[in-house]
């Protein structure tokens, strides 16, 4: 039977070995600088939580069900300690970042706007062809250990990008969406939207109808049907909040990067965790319009803009249930999503009032293959990115094919990355 003395002896030894293995990994040695330090502390917290539980052995006099419980505690702890080895390549990456330095600086600026100063950003290439993120990877375990207080307060954020995209700078506005997930978690943004929806009688009425409809199809309890639909809605809301945050901080550059990377993956598809791409683009366009970006977009990429508007119009196409419920509620709640994000981003929004002129200057310099740092003062890195897109669309044609071709233009993207890096360095020198 599990939980007997031999079983517990094996498990305690195994857990201690996993701890020693983590602590002994050369990539786990302490850092000289700040980058990666919070991630390392977070792993130390996981080890601390495991050690705390190891000490709770109920002893030989405990009832069998309690001894078995202790053995399951140890097995869960061992699983987590083994999973923590995933952090070792991330820690190694912080010592030798492989992502473009200019892009890294711009991403750090976005992280500060969206999440705050207390962030440890770790940007790592991944064999998966996907951008993804996780922050506080072991938080559910470290924070919910009774009697144990974690020491990490600075949020570690791990951003993964496709191996091929280290120098495809024009796609890096997508990092802002990934940072949005950390912001959504940090500030409980989905909960805020949910609270508002719970007070909306039209939403509650529509939910009641959707649940009634799906009860017949799914043949599970009403509680489970409701729970499932609401969990899917939560995921859709989070994705859309992240899109909106990315648009707020990166402007149209995010929309163009999104179209280049995500539109090849889907269109008006049903997925429990992701809204259709049409709906996402529709909400992004609405926000860009509200922020006054339309004239610039029509100047920089008129054909691409009108094409994306058509894509957004397809968000009106009905879906089968329960996706139709989700689609309708999301479109109804677009103002709520926008207001939630606006309150979060505050003054960090990239405004066309200042960014358009800077983007035009960057674009003009790029056209002459001049590093677009700025002729009279350092341009804002996010404006340089926008100008990079503007010039890329001009050079590779204002059409869907040009959007894709732009991503292969290494020379332009090298200049954009170097200019963003120089801009940050130059601005730092100028600060008193």
């Amino acid at each position: 039977m599990d939980g007997n003395p031999n079983d517990v002896e094996l498990l305690l030894s195994s857990a201690r070995q996993e701890i020693a293995s983590l602590e002994g990994d050369p990539r786990f040695k302490p850092f000289d600088g700040k980058r990666g330090e919070a991630l390392r502390d977070h792993v130390l917290d996981l080890i601390g939580a495991a050690e705390h539980r190891l000490a709770l052995d109920p002893g030989t006099g405990a009832p069998p069900s309690v001894s078995q419980s202790f053995s399951r505690t140890l097995r869960e702890s061992i699983l987590m300690l083994r999973a923590a080895h995933a952090a070792m390549p991330w820690l190694a990456a912080t010592r030798s970042p492989s992502v473009n330095l200019g892009s890294l600086y711009a991403t750090e600026e976005c992280a500060e706007i969206l999440v705050g100063k207390e962030v440890d950003l770790v940007v790592v290439p991944d064999v998966e062809f996907m951008y993804s993120t996780i922050s506080w990877p072991f938080l559910p375990v470290t924070n919910d250990t009774p009697g144990f207080t974690p020491r990490t307060t600075r949020r570690p954020i791990i951003l993964h990008y496709p191996l091929s995209d280290g120098d495809r700078l024009l796609l890096h506005p997508l990092f802002a969406h990934e940072l949005g997930h950390a912001a959504a978690q940090q500030f409980a943004l989905v909960d805020k939207v949910n609270s508002a929806l719970a007070e909306d009688s039209e939403f509650v009425g529509a939910l009641t109808k959707a649940v009634e409809l799906m009860k017949g199809t799914w043949t599970v309890s009403e509680v489970k049907v409701t729970g499932t639909i609401l969990a899917w809605l939560r995921d859709w809301i989070e994705e859309l909040l992240c899109d909106q945050m990315a648009v707020e901080v990166m402007g149209p550059a995010y929309l163009w990067a999104f179209a280049g990377f995500v539109l090849p993956l889907g269109y008006h598809d049903k997925h429990p965790a992701y809204p259709p791409v049409t709906v996402r683009i529709r909400l992004m366009l609405d926000l860009l319009l509200a922020r006054g970006w339309q004239p610039y977009m029509e100047e920089a990429a008129p054909h691409i803009s009108s094409w994306l508007i058509e894509v957004g119009e397809d968000a009106e196409q009905p879906l089968s249930q329960p996706y139709e419920f989700l689609r309708q509620q999301i479109l109804n709640a677009s103002d709520l999503l926008r207001d939630t994000v606006a309150a979060q981003v505050g003054g960090g929004t990239l405004s066309p009032v200042t960014a358009v002129e800077e983007a035009r200057e960057a674009s003009t310099l790029l056209k002459s293959l001049i590093l677009p740092v700025g002729e009279s003062y350092p341009l804002e890195p996010r404006s340089i990115m926008l100008g990079g897109w503007q010039e890329a669309v001009r050079a590779h044609e204002d059409r869907p094919e040009g959007l894709v071709a732009a991503l292969s233009d290494r020379r332009l993207q090298d200049l954009v990355g170097k200019a963003m890096e120089m801009s940050v360095v130059s601005s730092s020198w100028r600060k008193p």
Partner: protein, 161 residues
């Protein structure tokens, strides 16, 4: 499924399992010592509150849970209570949740006294079932069975495109 999402789900799944085991160990300490430490007492009260939330969801299926953590914990509690009630009526499910929550509160208050073992064992069985389910789920997320999931096992937090 991408690795980062897998790790996120593993952490949440393992944490819920560890929570159930922590309840068992705290309840055992309370039963044997007839008193709960401040940490155990607060923790057991919190666990009882989650069971209350699960019972309330059963009473009002259309109630909107604000947090995903509450949604996951109450989902699991409801599943186990339904299973222990032999797939019986909602009333039986709610009665199971109410009784287990009552035992936890008595333990938190150091008021278990010389309780019949049957009541405590029923509570231990409840959390053992949660713990076993979660350990199996953790293994399927971390090991060779990665990617297998039922239609209900939709991740509540995804973090990529």
């Amino acid at each position: 499924m991408r690795d980062l999402q897998q790790l996120e789900r593993l952490s949440s799944t393992a944490a819920l399992g560890l929570w159930a085991e922590d309840v068992i160990l705290a309840l055992d300490r309370a039963a044997r010592l007839h008193v709960s430490s401040e940490v155990d007492s607060e923790f057991l009260q919190g666990a009882a509150a989650i069971l209350d939330a699960a019972r309330e969801r059963s009473e009002e299926p259309l109630a909107i849970s604000v947090s995903s953590k509450a949604l996951a914990a109450t989902d699991t509690a409801l599943d186990v209570a339904e299973s222990l009630a032999g797939g019986g009526s909602s009333e039986q499910t709610r009665a199971t949740l109410e009784e287990v929550a009552r035992v936890l509160r008595e333990a938190a208050d150091g008021a278990l006294g010389d309780e019949p073992e049957q009541r405590i064992n029923a509570a231990l069985d409840f959390f053992s079932a949660v713990g076993r389910n979660q350990l199996a789920a953790s293994n399927s997320l971390s090991g060779a069975n990665r990617g297998s999931r039922s239609w209900m096992a939709t991740p509540t937090t995804l973090s990529s495109f």
